[in-house]
Symmetry: D2
Subunit: 384 residues, 4 copies
Amino acid sequence: MINRKIRMGMIGGGQGAFIGAVHRIAAQIDSQIELVCGAFSSDAERAIASGKELYLPESKCYPDFNTMMAEEAKLPEGEHMDFVAIVTPNHVHFPAAKAALEAGFHVLSDKPATLDKNEAIELAKIVKATGLKYGLTHNYTGYPMVKQAKEMIQNGEIGKVRKIVVEYPQGWLATPLEQTGQKQAAWRTDPKRSGAAGCIGDIGTHAENLAEYMTGLQIDELAADLTRFVDGRLLDDDGNILLRFEGGAKGILHASQISVGEENSLNIRVYGETGGFEWHQMEPNTLLVHKLDQPTQIFRTGNGYLGEAATAHSRIPAGHPEGYLEAFANIYRNFAADIAADLSGEAAPAYAKDYPTIEDGVRGMAFIEAVVKSSENNAAWTKL
Amino acid sequence: MINRKIRMGMIGGGQGAFIGAVHRIAAQIDSQIELVCGAFSSDAERAIASGKELYLPESKCYPDFNTMMAEEAKLPEGEHMDFVAIVTPNHVHFPAAKAALEAGFHVLSDKPATLDKNEAIELAKIVKATGLKYGLTHNYTGYPMVKQAKEMIQNGEIGKVRKIVVEYPQGWLATPLEQTGQKQAAWRTDPKRSGAAGCIGDIGTHAENLAEYMTGLQIDELAADLTRFVDGRLLDDDGNILLRFEGGAKGILHASQISVGEENSLNIRVYGETGGFEWHQMEPNTLLVHKLDQPTQIFRTGNGYLGEAATAHSRIPAGHPEGYLEAFANIYRNFAADIAADLSGEAAPAYAKDYPTIEDGVRGMAFIEAVVKSSENNAAWTKL
Amino acid sequence: MINRKIRMGMIGGGQGAFIGAVHRIAAQIDSQIELVCGAFSSDAERAIASGKELYLPESKCYPDFNTMMAEEAKLPEGEHMDFVAIVTPNHVHFPAAKAALEAGFHVLSDKPATLDKNEAIELAKIVKATGLKYGLTHNYTGYPMVKQAKEMIQNGEIGKVRKIVVEYPQGWLATPLEQTGQKQAAWRTDPKRSGAAGCIGDIGTHAENLAEYMTGLQIDELAADLTRFVDGRLLDDDGNILLRFEGGAKGILHASQISVGEENSLNIRVYGETGGFEWHQMEPNTLLVHKLDQPTQIFRTGNGYLGEAATAHSRIPAGHPEGYLEAFANIYRNFAADIAADLSGEAAPAYAKDYPTIEDGVRGMAFIEAVVKSSENNAAWTKL
Amino acid sequence: MINRKIRMGMIGGGQGAFIGAVHRIAAQIDSQIELVCGAFSSDAERAIASGKELYLPESKCYPDFNTMMAEEAKLPEGEHMDFVAIVTPNHVHFPAAKAALEAGFHVLSDKPATLDKNEAIELAKIVKATGLKYGLTHNYTGYPMVKQAKEMIQNGEIGKVRKIVVEYPQGWLATPLEQTGQKQAAWRTDPKRSGAAGCIGDIGTHAENLAEYMTGLQIDELAADLTRFVDGRLLDDDGNILLRFEGGAKGILHASQISVGEENSLNIRVYGETGGFEWHQMEPNTLLVHKLDQPTQIFRTGNGYLGEAATAHSRIPAGHPEGYLEAFANIYRNFAADIAADLSGEAAPAYAKDYPTIEDGVRGMAFIEAVVKSSENNAAWTKL
């Protein structure tokens, strides 16, 4: 064990940003990581003001991420940051990650990895060339019950997977919110900052990642029907997709931002030859487990009957609900453990390798590209 | 008001049949209909034994439906049956309905209306020519909360409908049950008795009917991916379908009989511009009602805030759950009220016209045909 | 098997009554019972009009129950009624049951059995003396999942019972509804027609009966705190009760009619040494089953893993919800089977003895008396 | 705003402790507090080892809390700790709090405040005399939806409160776990370390605090029936209590640690003249809101329709579940804001005064004492 916390710099996440605060909580909840510096905004003045609010000395509030790389690289190990958290809008993910890796820092990036698939492939090459760690906050796979289902599938407890239904309905963009100046809506519906897809890029990729992570199966081809329901919107706000997985499993993925009344209702059902699962992000501590001809069982976090993976990713006893921030924190905790093991030269715990990587990032961009292409071709089957 | 119950004859539904008993309960629960005769089995001996168990005199237990038509037609009004309930496997629906209509009797048939679309079109002609009533037990639209949602959509309470997600997962055919001699599984997986589709014909049509009934929108085209997961099965046991409705709404319909752990989980979500609904058949007394920027409301049967349609289709106060049999009975009750109004010459109540007709039957067969065709063409878009 | 339906006469349940219609549906849903006569109202004219609406000949619509007894007693077996269903307000239960039994007819009575405990004891003597059958429609114990829990407790599957929490909150009397002329509210809040207790007599007794039926344990003593929350109300509209059962189990029973937002939310939780149960009347097809250190299981009606009792009391496959009327009907079905077995001289099925009797009726009245006495003594412990 | 985090010392919470880790997460999740020192164990060696695991310098890992007080008091403001978090077993709460206050440090203590009521009264005097801040982690009142209900009650949205049902069932002590050496079970069932009550002291007080906090009403008197179900146990493991509140509201409180299958199922229902609430700790982001004659509404955290209090106590948008740790953190966040306002001389935000104080602590001890006394007197009514 190294005798210090892992040191984090942050790019983006200044005043007014939502996801930056989430990353900071997730990073620090387990007291294994400390925020040591940041380039919190593309506006230098706001960057510094933001850092001061976080109790950082002004000298550690950099005006831009290139300066941060240059300055931190000058410091010795133990004084410079160990890794960079990237929490900007999508179009900055690639240049920021590239700069950090090339300056010798590990990267933990918000998703999607990049703005398009080509960038993602390029980034994968850089990660490989530098030998540094790259993690991606597909945070929904950080939930303990997702890991429980994954482990049970790996153990053959539901037989061969036949069908997967994964959904991600939201309702917050049912009206043209981006035309009101709402910041979150504005960049997510802007192709220049968000990429080729709207709803599918923002949340559809989470659904894709969840389905593939939980089942261990990859989508082979898909047929997608995207829609822009709200007048004047530039990107899709709803998508319905048929899936065919390698090995014969079939599936459905649908995501929406115009489903009035839905908050953030990511959920998944998996059916195998002899059993199945149902899990809902909004009540994440429960996993329904089906077995042929038996009563459905309610698995709950924190109980002794759970497997190693679920146990390693919850903090408190049964009946004490953990939520979104703790799932998010699991990715940070694991990523930090991976770095710490390298620094100390000690063996890492099993969970230290359980976080999404650039391979997931490439796959997510391939998914977006295939969905958009399929939809442009009237839902023609399209390979990933 | 006529001073007697409406008289029902039954075709099929003898010993060992499941759905026949359901129809008899549904018909008699409100004491507006009495069973007066039947041709309960294609086996004459069993037909008579079945009738005796139902306390019918042997003279009213006919050996086959043609005999029943002939004998009943000889009796005067008020002594002969008023209508025939057809509760046989699918391939008998058409000949039985045809015989009854041509003998002058109204028909209430289990679904699907016929074995294929051509038969359905032919049957529609016969119904029109005879001027008799024809009802179809798409029983799930008999639930009060389905009618509540329909009424609210008609009243514009959720704005223009944008998205419909309708599901019908079951798990009872996850294994090759039909190879064990189980009667229900055997005929449902046999193309000669069930028709061109398995899962889609048996339950997918209920989902289609529910979606169109509730929203008042018709499916314009669809893209379907059917699968036979169980080795040796002759018909689809799972189907995933993209929907495009007239007027621009999009949708998803999936049905399955291999979804282990699912019982009979028909459910629907509808999203409009300003609101939405969620309803589950297995907890049918609850309707979730979404409105933009407001808390979701839990509408429950039997309450004073419900509209006319829901109120007219429940029997007991709030908190006293009604179920499948009562919803099924609503179709019988309405059909009987329609006949009674004709017999008495009095005005019928509004609900007397609220039951599925041969038009729904034709539409259901068109749906099955389009789904099968689309799937054979690798999920190509196919018009209904 | 006798070759006819069991013949029922009805006392009460004329136009405008709620519970009479429920009893008629419950009696006839399984086609084992037919309504043959009635004294439907204390108003002779309305009694006849009510009977005609039910398609009875005028000669079978008696002006009062004494006339009905006298006339029916003149008819031979197979033509007279076999039993009487009593569905009047509480104060008529005793005289009607007495008259029927003394005239030689079996009785199935709505609960409570009588207006007070003395009447109940008197009635028990009459039942014993006549040797006739007496059933009581504590209908909530007719639900299949209640029987499943009872059977599992009997089989020792949760060990010795330690704690029972049974609740029956309603909200419909949160305002002085009886002062508006609402009929159901008026007699239930009138001591002359309802008895010494309001809420506790009307619904508290259902909770008591459910707890004792499911666990097989009897309440030994109780401490009750009754309240009249609504100004001007003559009887309790809320009660909180501590329970001590024979053998050491402890419990809580609370019932309320002023719990705004609650419909008819009877529910029970039972905890034993090694397991437990949770059941809710409003979603009655589900039984949660707890076992030490294991995931909670969701038992559902209609599944093969259920025991004999649950199976014998449901009609349709898993996933097809049954409700209040079917549970109510189970009492009628069982009572009719008991009569039919006697008439035919054949062995009755096990379920034919599974209905509440006059012993349950006496116990219910003892419960009411003890609750009222305890509350008058500032919640002093009071033996039943 | 002061330009630094608030500095926390910790007493207890060394290796192997559960609640210490919870407090550290809760304190640091919002990055407003930093852990600067601790006396983590009564074993000096373990105290130091525990501190090092938390990345504290050895000089800040004190061997006992008296040393910590003495040493920290020597440091100037901004370098010494600002407050002490006490996370020991119950019997240490009082001496530790006393020592800290007398040394000039604010105190945030785990509950119950002390081992008995006399200690609590004594402590209240010390708090008053020193003028320092004292907070108590009745963490369940930190949930946003609890605050939403409180605010709506204060605003008169459900009228005068009539009935309160508050429950806290657990099942983890259904067997004699304390006899296996399990540390959490051992001290909680030991009167010397836990106090006069077991289940009621450990969790019953949370229920009491929740009911009084949410409704703003105080319990006037109670009648309690405590039980020790597990052989050899020294303290109650189950309690059923009738409540009478000031102003006429009635209630039930029951808590249990032998309710097999229950995890940590604290829940509350409140009914007023015109509305009501239902809230469950295990799904804490949902609040059911009842209004007379209207559909029940599902209020959910993070939505714009919520009031100020709920909004001020959640961190992330609707649909992103927050849980136990975030609710716990709300108390720390508020307590730290209260200290920070004093330090800076600026006005505190409204939420800075929203945490449980020594008055709640005294009240909790009075509750325990009254419950134990009532139970010893066979559930006689006992004033708080």
